[in-house]
Symmetry: C2
Subunit: 324 residues, 2 copies
C-alpha cells in the first residue's frame, strides 16, 4: 500500500503539501495540485483512515444500540438511522444487545475507547447507572437513561389517546393491553397510562398483561395471546405492539373469534407487518423515519458542538385498518 510519503516523493513535493492538497480543495497552485493528483493516481494511493482517525481524534462513526434488528420496529429504525447518518457523513456501527451476556457494557466501552464518536441508544437498559459518568455524546431513542441524556421520542400521550378513540368508536367493554416489561420505564410505556385514563373516564374495563423483559419474539407473543384468551374470555379489544397484536389476530381466527365483529385490535407502532397481512391492522403509527432523522441530526450536533433546533417529540398518526 502506498503511503502519503510515497505520493510526496513521486510528485516531488513534501508530505505536508500532499496532505493539504488532498484535504483542502482551495490549497496549492493548480500545477502542484495536478502533480499530486497524478501521483495519487499512479500509485493508486488510498489514505489510511486509521491514521487520520488518530490524528484528527475522531472516527466519523456513530454506534446504534438496539436489542435486535430482526424485529420490524427496530429494522425500520436502524434502516432509517443508517440512512440519515450516511447523508450526514457518518458511518454506522451496529450494536445489538439481545442474546449477549453484557453487550451493553461492551458497546459503551467501545464508545469510551473512541471507537465511535457517539451513540444512539435504542435498547432497554436494566442498568442505567452505567450511563451516569459517560462524557461522550449519547442520544436516547425512546429511553430514559440519565437526566442529562436527551431523548427523542413519539408523543405517546397522544398515541394512547388515539388508540383509545379508535376503541371508543366501537363500543368495547373489556380491553386487554399488552405492555412491554414493567422492569424498564420507557416513554413508550406511557401510552398505556394515557389510554387507561381515557378508558376509565368512559367506564371501560382494562387489564394489562406484560411481556417478559427484552422479549421481541413471535413465540413469546403467541404464548401471551393464548393466555389472554384463556384468562379473559370476554375480551373484546386488544391493544399492544404490532407483533403481539398480530399474534392475537392469528390466534383469534384460529379460535373462531370474528375480527373485528367480536374482537377489535389496535396495534401500536404501525410497522409494515400491520399492512401486509390478509387483514390490515388498525394501528397507531410512530413516525420512525422522522424520529430517526432527528436523532441522527442531534447526535451529530452533539458531536461537533453545534446547535440543532429540531423538536424532541413528534406526534403519531393513525393507520385505519380493518381490525377496529
Amino acid at each position: 500500500m502506498a503511503r502519503i510519503r510515497d505520493v510526496a516523493r513521486e510528485a516531488g513535493v513534501s508530505v505536508g503539501t500532499v496532505s493539504m492538497v488532498l484535504n483542502h480543495a482551495d490549497y496549492g497552485s493548480p500545477a502542484i495540485r495536478q502533480k499530486v493528483e497524478s501521483a495519487v493516481e499512479k500509485l493508486q494511493y488510498v489514505p489510511s483512515e486509521m491514521a487520520r482517525n488518530l490524528s484528527l481524534k475522531r472516527t466519523m462513526t456513530v454506534g446504534i444500540i438496539v436489542p435486535t434488528v430482526s424485529h420490524p420496529f427496530f429494522a425500520e429504525l436502524v434502516g432509517d438511522l443508517e440512512e440519515a447518518l450516511y447523508h450526514l457523513g457518518y458511518k454506522t456501527m451496529l450494536c445489538c444487545t439481545r442474546q449477549k451476556e453484557n453487550a451493553e457494557h461492551v458497546f459503551l466501552e467501545m464508545l469510551q475507547r473512541q471507537n465511535m464518536d457517539g451513540i444512539i441508544m435504542g435498547a432497554h437498559s436494566l442498568d442505567t447507572a452505567i450511563y451516569q459518568g459517560v462524557k461522550q455524546p449519547i442520544i436516547a431513542f425512546d429511553r430514559y437513561l440519565s437526566p442529562d441524556i436527551p431523548i427523542v421520542h413519539t408523543n405517546h400521550v397522544l398515541g394512547g389517546e388515539m388508540a383509545a378513540q379508535a376503541f371508543l368508536q366501537h363500543d368495547c367493554h373489556h380491553i386487554v393491553e399488552i405492555s412491554g416489561s414493567q422492569m424498564v420505564k420507557t416513554p413508550a410505556g406511557e401510552y398505556h397510562q394515557a389510554f387507561n385514563k381515557v378508558m376509565q373516564a368512559h367506564g371501560v374495563r382494562t387489564d394489562v398483561v406484560a411481556l417478559p423483559w427484552n422479549s421481541f419474539g413471535f413465540k413469546e407473543s403467541m404464548e401471551l395471546a393464548e393466555r389472554i384468551f384463556d384468562e379473559f374470555p370476554d375480551v373484546d379489544g386488544i391493544l399492544g405492539s404490532d407483533v403481539s397484536v398480530s399474534s392475537c389476530l392469528q390466534l383469534a381466527v384460529r379460535r373462531g373469534i370474528k375480527v373485528p365483529e367480536q374482537l377489535k385490535l389496535v396495534a401500536y407502532d404501525g410497522t409494515y407487518i400491520t399492512q401486509n397481512g390478509i387483514l390490515k391492522l388498525t394501528a397507531v403509527r410512530q413516525p420512525i423515519a422522522e424520529l430517526a432523522e432527528i436523532a441522527a441530526k442531534k447526535i451529530v450536533s452533539l458531536i461537533n458542538g453545534s446547535q440543532d433546533d429540531s423538536p424532541w417529540v413528534l406526534p403519531p398518526t393513525v393507520l385505519k385498518g380493518e381490525t377496529c
Copy 2:
C-alpha cells in the same frame, strides 16, 4: 482522558510495561501487574482504539453490505451476522446501498481505506467490475461478484425442487413465478431454473414475472400481484419471495379467490412474515442463521489467514404452512 504514559507515570513503570501488562495476561510479576492495574483504576484509563488500530493495522471491524435492513430477509441476515461476528470478536459496520447514489463505491472505498478489515457483501451489484482489483477480504452472500470472491449460499437447486414438489402434491396447472430483477445474476435466481425443469417434466405451465431492480417494497410487490391476477386469470399457483407472495395472498383474499382451494402459494425465504399472518404461508426456508455464521467465520479466517472448513452451500428446508 488519561493516556498510557499517565498510567506509566502513576504506576512508576515504563509505557512499554503498561502496554504489555494490559495486552498479555502472562506478562510481568504480580507486583508490577498490581501497580499497573491500580493506576488504571485510579486514572480511569481507557485505551484509545484508534491508536491501537493504527499500531496494529487492523480495526476488528467487518462491514456488512446489504440493500436495506427494513426487509425481513435482510433484517434476519444482518441480525444473525452481527451476532456471529460479535462472538468472533468483531464489530459490525452496517452499510445499506439502497436509495443512495453510489453507496457501493463509497463502502468499497471504506474497505480500502482500512476502515474495516473485510466485508460481507449481500447487496445486488450492477457493477461487479469494481470488485476485480480489490485486495482486501470479501465474502459474498448469495451473490456473484468476481471469480475469486467466494460465495456462501443456499442450495437453490434443491430449493427449487422442494417448491416444485409442494405444488405437485396439489395438481396445479398454471404457476406464476415472481423473480427478482433479471438484471443481476444471483445464486438465488437459480431456484427458478430448477423449479421450471421439474414443472416442465410434469407438463405444468409456468410464467415468470419480474420485480424491478432493487425493489423490496410492499408497494411494488402489491402492484405486481395485481398484474399477475389481471394477466393470468387462471393462475392456480404462485411462487416468489415472502414479501411478494404475502401481497398475492392479501390480494387474492380481497378478490375472493380462495386460498389454498383455488390458489396455492409457496414463499421462498421463509422469514417470520410467513409465520405471523392469519394463514401461515407454506415456504422454502433458507437457513439464514447458519449461513450467517458460516459467512462470519469465513470472513474472519480470510482476514487472519487461517483455514475454515465450513461448507459453502447449505440446504433449505420446507415450512409446511396453510397455503399449499
